[in-house]
Symmetry: C2
Subunit: 304 residues, 2 copies
């Protein structure tokens, strides 16, 4: 398979967009028409299956609406996992739906474990677990997010799977208020997140595609623009996955100077401000999501 980084670069250029739409479905925020449709099924199928089916339709509707304006989508595994096997199946269907629209899928799982366990998490996301007859398909995501706390041997099993056309985004400087507690702590004169970025550079050096980007990227939040620029300095060839835009407070100005290469070298995630745009206006949820994604694409057009 083609390098993940090349497929993402192609998607960015084709849509002229660096928008990553976060798919974080929550029952309390489902549009009333979907709640009415699926509530009666809870008695028949059970709550897990009914909510999972509702999420699947909702995410499918969002994907259809934003496909023209987004470079990729990022399903949030936690939202689906809490509905058990039914949620897991729905997550697989949402990923399949994104692929029908040729949207690369970054699965937000924030996993991290060593050796055989790390490899198993990778296979859960990408496919390839051993079966009696044949390897199993897994979720067939294109990339995933991983947490670096366990060290390099917890990232290597995921990086090894880049050879099969997959991508990895390592949490480096996240966008949440508590991020600074460990990530900004200074060790040997540099914040911890810079050490992590250096590790990402080392792991990603052997996985650079034709577009000049590595398949091993980093998560760096827009809420901390100075840190974001520092991550870019350490990682000139990495794709950055940038959360914190929109509902979390950061604007386009936080991204000044972060672009790299001729496909921007980053994608900016927005979840709530796109998928729940219907709650702040009068539009139906798909029309509201399309308008929000198009507007965000235009706001970030300077990167391309």
């Amino acid at each position: 398979m083609q390098h993940f980084s090349d497929r993402l670069a192609t998607a960015i250029r084709a849509r002229r967009s660096v928008v990553c739409v976060g798919l974080d479905p929550a029952l309390e925020r489902m549009p009333p028409a979907l709640v009415e449709k699926y509530r009666p099924q809870a008695a028949e199928l059970g709550d897990e299956a009914a909510v999972a089916a509702c999420f699947q339709e909702f995410c499918g509707g969002v994907i259809d609406a934003v496909a023209a304006f987004a470079a990729c989508v990022k399903p949030q595994a936690a939202c689906f996992e809490q509905y058990g096997a039914a949620g897991w199946r729905a997550l697989g269907e949402v990923i399949r739906c994104a692929h029908e629209y040729e949207l690369p899928v970054i699965l937000d799982v924030k996993r991290g474990d060593i050796a055989a366990t790390g490899a198993a998490y990778g296979r859960a996301a990408f496919g390839g677990a051993p079966g009696f007859a044949a390897p199993v398909a897994g979720l067939a995501a294109d990339a995933l997010t991983v947490s670096p706390y366990l060290g390099d041997d917890s990232l290597e099993p995921f990086v090894a799977q880049c050879a099969d056309g997959r991508g990895v985004f390592v949490l480096t400087r996240t966008s949440n208020p508590g991020a600074a507690l460990l990530q900004e702590r200074k060790a040997d004169g540099r914040p911890l997140f810079v050490h992590v970025a250096e590790l990402v550079a080392r792991l990603g050096a052997g996985h650079i595609g034709d577009a000049g980007y590595s398949d091993v990227g980093a998560v760096a939040g827009a809420t901390s623009p100075g840190a974001l620029r520092l991550v870019r300095e350490v990682l000139p060839h990495a794709f950055l996955l940038v959360p914190g835009y929109g509902a979390q407070g950061a604007g386009a100005d936080a991204l000044a100077g972060v672009a790299a290469g001729d496909a921007a070298g980053f994608v900016v995630n927005a979840s709530r401000s796109i998928i729940y745009a219907w709650q702040t206006g009068v539009a139906e949820y798909r029309r509201a999501a399309a308008a929000a994604a198009e507007s965000m694409r235009n706001d970030l057009a300077f990167a391309l």
Copy 2:
């Protein structure tokens, strides 16, 4: 519900054991009799369902065999997740089986995320996700492992669920070779893992049960005995989940001085050396697992 820490203390005292049996099923290590039994089902049910059913029987057999000698069990989520919805369902059945034997279940998921997402991961493990008719059951685990890289606001959603009788083990100083890369890095004169231990102390202070232990514990490996003792110094009231014993190389001597309180204050995990003991001898897998668990319990009896 009773405090998780009280339920774990009760299990340790009832079995006179600090053994935590890690349930890390892998297809290439399944006993031949189980492979023969489930291989024909792959054609009929599909590989995912056949492997998941095989894992479920294997783990159920191990649980039955070790129940008299173990304080708790620790299923490894990755092993199941790679078999999709079928794997997730099997994981739930394994947890249910452990509960039939009154064994607390520490779900090894190494999750970590903020706010609503963190809470959703907690509900996936513990139950309580909102449904149309009623909250859903989830996996009904008793405790889970979490990664601290995102900071205090990524641990708080899990700690909040301790109020419902659940427990949390925060990765602090792990047992893998690469652990030192970030965890031993010195910041403000102390290694990063000590800062994490201090965070665990702060988060756990309000969640101490009748047995004197907190529901917020720490993962600290036996492969680094000095670090393990340092973690205990910072966390006199925490349960420690200690990996690295057995197949990973550490012996009982690594645990000298780590006991605290009258229920040891720690559990020592072993996975491969118990569940795959059949591969190193002539015994059937359940008898081999029972013998290995009993022997490990006796080796660690000094802690009680």
